[in-house]
C-alpha cells in the first residue's frame, strides 16, 4: 500500500456523479470547429468553401507548438468559414469552420499500427500530432508538444482523479474501455521512456478501479486510489498526493521528471497509434438538475450543445444556467447553439434553486478560511484586498498568477465575496497593463527613430546644399579666372 501525502487545503464536496453507461450521440446537421486554440493561437484552415470532407480528414493545420490540427468528425461539405459564438468565457464570436453533414458518416481509411515499439518515439509523437490529440482533461494542451519535453521523465501519471462535481466522463470511459486506456498508457510510457507509470483514480470510483485492475497485467503500471478531495485532479496537487513532491509555483512538472496525462488522452493516443484514428470524438457528461435524463455521451467534436441536450430528454422547467465543465471551474455559456470542443468534458444545466440567488456580498471579515483551503498555499484575502485597491504590484508579489482558479476560497467565504472573479479581473488588468506598456514603448521607439531619421536627412540635405554651393562657387571662380586670362 503506497503511503499518500496531502496537499494544503482543498475541500470535500459532494460529487453528484452520473453513473449511466455511455451512449452514442446521433449525427447533428452541422459541425462547428472554432479556429482559436490555446494561448491565442489560431489553426489554419486547409479546406475551401464547398469542399467535400470525410470523417477523420484534417480540415485545419497547426501553425505553432501551441496549436493542434483539427479533423472533421463526420463526412459532409464545408458550408462556411465564418464567426460563430465559441465556447469561451467571453461568449464572443470568432472564426469557425462549419461543416454540413451529409448523413453518410463516410470515413477516411485508418492505418492501424500494432507494433508501435518498432517505431521511434519521434515517429509516434508525429503521429500523435497529426491525429490532433490535445489534453482531454479540459486544458487542451497539444499532447505531442507536451511529450516533446527535453527533460528526463521518470514518472508518467495517468490522471483519472475526476475531482470536480458532476463530471463523470473519465469514470465511464474507464468502465468501458479499460484495455484501451492501459494500451495508451503503455504507448505514452514507451515514448517518454519513463521508468514508472501510475494511474490515479479517486476513492469514490470503485467500479473504475476494478475495471483497471482487471486490465493491468503488466507490473510496470501502478494503480493508486486517492482521497476524493477537490482539487486532487490538478496536476501539481496530484503529484504531491502520489509522491509527496511539491512542484514550486513557477516550475512545470516536467522539470521534476513528472508528466501527467488525462485518462481520456491516453485512450485517444491508443486510438491514434493502434487504430490509426484521428481525434474526432470524446465522452461528454450531460448532467445537472436542469436536464431530464443525465448521461455520458460519446460525442462528435463540433456537435452543437443543443443537439446533446435534445438527446438527453431536453431541459427541465427551472433550468437557469448552462455550464461547460463542472460546477467549480466551468464556463457559463450564453447559448446552446455553441458547439463542443476537444476541451469540453461536461455540459451542466443548473436550475434556479440549485445555484441562483447567491446571497449578497458582505465585507471581508478576515477570517482566513480562504487561505486555509487554498491548494496552492496563497493568501486569497490579501490578493482580494490588493486587487480591489488596484495595487497590482503587490498582487504579483503575492503570486496572483499561481492561482489555479479552483474556486475553493470562493465557496468557503462566509461573506460570499466573488473571489475567483476578482482574481480573474485583476489578472486581466495586469495583462492589459503589460500589453499597453509594450505597445507604448514600441510607439515611442518608432517615434524616436523617426525623429532621428528626419534630423539625419535634414543634415544630409544641408551638407549636400553646402557641397553644391561650394562647387558652384568654385566654377564661378574658375570661369572668372578664365575670362580674365582671355
Amino acid at each position: 500500500m503506497t503511503k499518500l501525502a496531502h496537499f494544503h487545503g482543498g475541500l470535500a464536496i459532494t460529487a453528484d456523479k452520473c453513473t449511466s453507461p455511455i451512449i452514442d450521440s446521433s449525427l447533428p446537421g452541422e459541425l462547428i470547429y472554432p479556429l482559436l486554440q490555446r494561448s491565442n493561437n489560431y489553426a489554419l484552415p486547409i479546406v475551401k468553401l464547398g469542399e467535400r470532407v470525410l470523417k477523420g480528414q484534417m480540415i485545419a493545420s497547426a501553425n505553432s507548438l501551441f496549436s493542434a490540427p483539427i479533423h472533421a468528425a463526420s463526412s459532409g461539405t464545408v458550408k462556411a468559414i465564418e464567426p460563430r459564438i465559441i465556447a469561451h468565457p467571453s461568449n464572443l464570436a470568432d472564426d469557425c469552420i462549419i461543416i454540413e453533414t451529409d448523413g453518410l458518416d463516410a470515413a477516411l481509411s485508418a492505418i492501424p499500427c500494432f507494433d508501435y515499439q518498432q517505431k521511434t518515439p519521434e515517429n509516434l509523437r508525429t503521429k500523435i500530432h497529426q491525429a490532433g490529440i490535445v489534453g482531454l482533461g479540459g486544458a487542451a494542451f497539444p499532447t505531442a508538444t507536451k511529450l516533446s519535453t527535453e527533460q528526463d521523465i521518470h514518472t508518467l501519471i495517468i490522471n483519472a482523479a475526476e475531482c470536480e462535481p458532476y463530471i463523470s466522463c473519465d469514470a465511464s470511459l474507464i468502465r468501458q474501455k479499460a484495455e484501451g486506456i492501459i494500451q495508451g498508457a503503455l504507448i505514452l510510457q514507451y515514448i517518454l521512456q519513463a521508468k514508472h507509470c501510475i494511474i490515479a483514480v479517486e476513492e469514490n470510483m470503485p467500479e473504475a478501479n476494478q475495471a483497471l485492475l482487471q486490465a493491468i497485467n503488466t507490473h510496470s503500471i501502478q494503480l493508486i486510489s486517492v482521497p476524493a478531495i477537490y482539487p486532487t485532479g490538478g496536476e501539481k496537487q496530484l503529484i504531491q498526493v502520489l509522491t509527496g513532491t511539491k512542484i514550486p509555483a513557477k516550475c512545470l512538472p516536467t522539470e521534476h521528471g513528472f508528466i501527467c496525462q488525462n485518462v481520456g488522452t491516453a485512450y485517444a493516443v491508443y486510438q491514434a497509434i493502434i487504430q490509426g484514428l484521428a481525434l474526432t470524438e470524446r465522452i461528454i457528461t450531460v448532467t445537472g438538475k436542469g436536464i431530464k435524463q443525465p448521461q455520458n455521451i460519446r460525442t462528435r467534436i463540433g456537435t452543437p450543445i443543443k443537439h446533446l441536450i435534445a438527446q438527453s430528454g431536453g431541459y427541465n422547467k427551472k433550468v437557469q444556467r448552462l455550464i461547460m465543465g463542472g460546477s467549480m471551474m466551468g464556463i457559463a455559456l450564453s447559448s446552446d447553439e455553441i458547439a463542443v470542443t476537444k476541451a469540453t468534458n461536461c455540459i451542466l444545466a443548473m436550475t434556479s434553486d440549485q445555484q441562483e440567488n447567491k446571497p449578497a456580498e458582505m465585507p471581508c471579515i478576515r477570517c482566513g478560511d480562504c487561505s486555509a483551503v487554498c491548494p496552492v498555499e496563497l493568501l486569497p484575502q490579501q490578493l482580494y484586498w490588493y486587487g480591489r485597491s488596484g495595487q497590482l504590484g503587490q498582487c504579483q508579489d503575492y503570486q496572483l498568477f499561481s492561482c489555479i482558479e479552483c474556486g475553493c476560497c470562493d465557496v468557503v467565504c462566509p461573506s460570499h465575496i466573488p473571489l475567483v472573479q476578482q482574481f480573474r479581473v485583476t489578472k486581466g488588468e495586469i495583462i492589459t497593463k503589460e500589453k499597453q506598456a509594450v505597445q507604448s514603448n514600441l510607439a515611442k521607439t518608432r517615434f524616436q527613430n523617426q525623429q532621428q531619421r528626419r534630423a539625419r536627412e535634414e543634415q544630409e540635405q544641408l551638407a549636400k546644399a553646402e557641397k553644391r554651393k561650394a562647387i558652384i562657387e568654385k566654377m564661378k571662380a574658375a570661369s572668372l579666372a578664365k575670362k580674365k586670362s582671355l
Binding site: 468565457p89 467571453s90 466573488p418 472573479q421 517615434f447 527613430n449
Partner: protein, 173 residues
C-alpha cells in the same frame, strides 16, 4: 556665536557645491511622467509629442488632464505620481474615444504620400503613385493622417473585440 556663524557658512558652501557638482542630468520627473503617457504622439495636448508634454507638466506649464488617448487611467496615474488631486479630462483638448485604428479605403487612394509624413510612428506604408496602407499593428489611433488626405479616404475603425483579447469585467464598482 561666531562658531555658529562659521558652521552655517560651511553648510551653505557645501550645499552650493552639491547643487553644482551633484546635479542630476536631465529631468527625472519628466522621464517618469513620460513613462505614464500613452505615446500616441498625437498632439491633442497642444504639444508636439508626449515627451514635450511631459516636460511641460514637470515645469508646471501644463495641467495633467490634457491627454485624451490616455484617458482617466493616465490622469489618475499622473495625479498619483505628482501627489495631486485627480481631475476629469479637460474636454478643450479632446474627448475620450473608443480605441480605433486608421484604415485607408484603397479604392479611393490616389497615392499622393500626403498622409505619410504626419504619422508619428511610420505606420503608413506607401510611395508616390503606389497604394498606401496602414500597418495596423503599429497604428496608435492618433488620427493625424486623416486631415492631410485630399480625398478623405482614411477612416477610423474601432478595434475588433476578439476573444483572445477579452478580459473578465469587474464584478462591481
Amino acid at each position: 556665536m561666531l562658531l555658529l556663524c562659521l558652521i552655517f557658512v560651511m553648510l551653505g558652501l557645501i550645499l552650493g557645491f552639491a547643487a553644482q557638482y551633484l546635479k542630476v542630468q536631465g529631468d527625472p520627473i519628466a522621464e517618469q511622467i513620460d513613462a505614464l503617457l500613452p505615446q500616441t504622439q498625437c498632439g491633442q495636448c497642444q504639444f508636439p509629442g508626449c515627451k514635450p508634454y511631459a516636460q511641460a507638466i514637470a515645469q508646471g506649464e501644463a495641467d495633467i488632464n490634457q491627454c485624451p488617448p490616455g484617458g482617466e487611467q493616465t490622469i489618475n496615474a499622473l495625479a498619483s505620481l505628482l501627489g495631486m488631486e485627480s481631475k476629469p479630462l479637460n474636454t478643450e483638448f479632446g474627448t475620450i474615444k473608443t480605441p480605433a485604428i486608421a484604415f485607408i479605403i484603397e479604392q479611393d487612394c490616389i497615392g499622393c504620400v500626403k498622409c505619410i509624413p504626419p504619422c508619428p510612428v511610420d505606420a503608413i506604408l506607401g510611395a508616390a503613385k503606389q497604394m498606401h496602407t496602414v500597418i495596423t499593428s503599429e497604428c496608435t489611433g492618433c488620427e493625424l493622417c486623416i486631415a492631410p488626405c485630399p480625398v478623405n479616404c482614411i477612416i477610423m475603425l474601432p478595434r475588433e473585440n476578439k476573444p483572445s483579447e477579452w478580459q473578465w469585467p469587474a464584478a462591481h464598482d
